[in-house]
């Protein structure tokens, strides 16, 4: 099987190049559009690579008050309607995602530890958390709206954080569980012989050994939170926002979607995900399969 005929190799190389092009096309288009001046957003034939790249779109994202100025600079009478502020979106997303991740990973580690060392709840206990992931969030969100209205959690940071924590706990628990299982229990036993309590042994011996995996889990859950859309859409109404919502805020009454600005916001907002995603590249498969598939 080592000796492959050169035609086949060439074909395979071609296939790889083709796949790479398809993988990169939408991303390229998004980024390219973010640099286009207004008149090139919806031209025909479409502009693949702009000959007059501009940072105006990014300017509008970060300085929405300049929108009118920019509109005036462009030809024609455009009405750029920008609601909300990208700054607030980034800020809120950062707050919610970080805190929700913290809660999720902390609760998840404690629960995973209990499951791994004490078999708490028996064999079936961890599976209940999988059921959480199986239900479509939209199904739960309708009564959640009702519940939140009583608890005064609608459109609050805490409401979002709680929702995100609950729905990422299945990942935390299952992922951290698979990492903890890789640390032998005997190590805690050895510490306990020296007088440590079980839990202290866990904190000082096991946890440091599993910290790589737990950190990967944290970044993974952060990515999930940052990218989340549905809960943000339904559970907030202006006081709290996220980057995923903000992208939809670049519409103008007369010219529809402000493609360039949307693309700029899209490009920037996805950068953290790309960044963290590549850091935890090796752990992605384990995460997205709840620890079932390990490299």
């Amino acid at each position: 099987m080592r000796k492959r005929n050169p035609w086949l190799t060439a074909l395979m190389r071609l296939a790889v190049i083709f796949s790479l092009l398809i993988s990169l096309l939408p991303i390229f288009w998004l980024f390219s559009t973010s640099l286009k001046p207004h008149d090139q957003w919806a031209e025909w034939p479409p502009v693949w690579i702009t000959d007059s790249p501009t940072l105006q779109n990014y300017r509008i994202v970060f300085f929405p008050e300049d929108a009118r100025e920019v509109a005036a600079e462009q030809q024609g009478s455009l009405d750029y309607k920008v609601s909300g502020s990208a700054w607030k979106a980034f800020q809120d997303s950062a707050i919610i995602s970080t805190l929700a991740t913290l809660f999720s990973v902390t609760f998840g580690t404690l629960a995973a530890y209990s499951i791994v060392r004490f078999r708490t709840g028996g064999e079936n206990f961890p599976f209940q958390f999988l059921t959480v992931r199986m239900m479509p969030p939209i199904a739960v969100v309708v009564p959640m709206v009702a519940l939140f209205s009583i608890l005064k959690l609608t459109d609050t940071y805490m409401g979002m954080i709680l929702a995100y924590t609950a729905f990422t706990l299945p990942f935390s628990i299952w992922m951290i569980r698979s990492y903890l299982e890789e640390v032998p229990a005997e190590l805690e036993g050895a510490a306990m012989i020296h007088g440590y309590s079980q839990f202290r042994a866990f904190l000082t011996v096991t946890l440091p050994l599993a910290k790589g995996g737990i950190l990967a889990t944290a970044l993974f859950i952060f990515i999930l939170n940052w990218s989340e859309f549905l809960f943000a859409l339904v559970l907030t109404s202006g006081d709290v926002t996220t980057v995923t919502l903000q992208v939809a805020n670049y519409v103008s009454a007369s010219s529809g979607k402000l493609y360039g600005v949307q693309a700029a916001m899209g490009t920037i907002s996805t950068l953290p995900v790309i960044f963290f995603g590549y850091i935890i590249q090796k752990h992605l498969v384990r995460g997205l399969t709840f620890g079932a598939v390990k490299r």
Binding site: M1, A15, V16, L20, I22, S23, L25, P26, I27, W29, L30, P45, P46, F107, L110, A111, S114, I115, F118, T120, F127, F129, L130, V132, M134, P136, P137, I138, A139, V140, V142, P143, M144, V145, L162, A166, F167, L169, P184, A185, E186, M192, W226, S227, F229, L233, V234, T244, V247, A248, Y259, S269, T270, V273, Y278, Q281, L288, T289, A292, V293
Partner: protein
């Protein structure tokens, strides 16, 4: 095994508490899930027998009960049944396409070749784009005057400005392509992991017995890959079933409900038409459906670890 029970013994001989230590550890997680997930789920049962419409300014606990009428209406609601069938069809198609592409790609990336690592990083880039952003990108790509139409124009030699997202049948295509584009890399990674851990000697033995690469692939490699592929398909099916972001961004379920998935249908019903009681009934039906399928599959799931 013995270490586990040893450890439990230690815990028991600790000081008497109201709650055993190991239970206390799971409480935060359990309580969060109970309050955010279980309580609303129970509320669905109540809401589903009412006709709660928030626009009528009646609080949900005071809403007028219509008992079984929501379910009756659902049964005859074509838009709902269409959404369910459409979603199942979408899941089916996406799974088949994603798995096939993933297998093909994994085979291409199995051996070493120059720049392979870099190529893998590029192939998995779609996974790391926020779904709403990729949905936006596909929206722009499939615009009447967008690059896809441009490419088609070049191929057929005349201008092609088909309005993909306004067409009742064809609008599903960009949506499915977005989903497939975004998640095939994940399947690819899983299948590649599986392929790289195949027992090499079995493959060599097959070669020496005179088997062609096709025979080796279908009779030896695929059966060995079945566990990994099953996990991949199972997990992705569940996630694809919940599809919402691309549809919301690209069509909102239009034209006329032609691109509504179950999630989109429920969103429209609850937050556009504000018929939350009715949608709660739909939610209950969907939840029962999903949970029964999961229970049915729980035994084979456990067998695969």
């Amino acid at each position: 095994m013995s270490e586990g029970s040893q450890v439990r013994e230690e815990a028991k001989t600790g000081s008497r508490r109201l709650i055993p230590f190991n239970v206390a550890l799971v409480l935060p997680a359990q309580l969060t899930v109970l309050s955010i997930v279980l309580v609303p789920t129970l509320m669905i049962i109540w809401l589903s027998i009412t006709d709660w419409q928030p626009t009528q300014n009646v609080p949900w606990w005071d809403a007028e009960p219509v008992w079984y009428w929501n379910f009756y209406d659902l049964w005859y609601d074509e838009r709902f049944t269409n959404a369910v069938l459409r979603t199942l069809l979408l899941v089916g198609i996406c799974m088949v396409v994603e798995l096939t592409l993933a297998l093909a790609l994994a085979l291409l990336f199995l051996d070493e070749w120059p720049w392979r690592k870099l190529a893998v990083s590029a192939i998995i880039l779609p996974m790391m784009i926020i779904p709403v952003d990729s949905a936006n990108a596909f929206f722009m790509l499939f615009n009447d005057r967008g690059p896809i139409n441009h490419l088609i124009s070049i191929v057929i030699g005349e201008p092609y400005t088909f309005s993909w997202l306004s067409h009742p049948t064809w609008a599903m295509l960009p949506i499915m392509l977005c989903e497939i584009w975004q998640w095939t890399p994940l399947m690819f990674l899983m299948v590649l992991t599986g392929l790289m851990s195949l027992p090499q000697n079995q493959i060599r033995a097959a070669v020496l017995l005179g088997a062609s690469p096709t025979r080796i692939f279908f009779r030896i490699m695929l059966p060995l890959l079945l566990p990994v592929m099953s996990v991949a398909v199972l997990i992705r099916s569940i996630e694809t079933f919940k599809i919402f972001d691309p549809i919301y961004i690209m069509t909102r379920g239009q034209p006329g409900g032609a691109t509504e998935s179950i999630s989109m249908y429920m969103y429209n019903g609850a937050f556009v038409y504000f018929r939350m009681g009715y949608i709660a009934a739909a939610a209950l039906v969907v939840l029962v459906l999903v949970i029964s399928i999961c229970l049915a599959l729980s035994r084979p799931l456990k067998r695969h670890g």
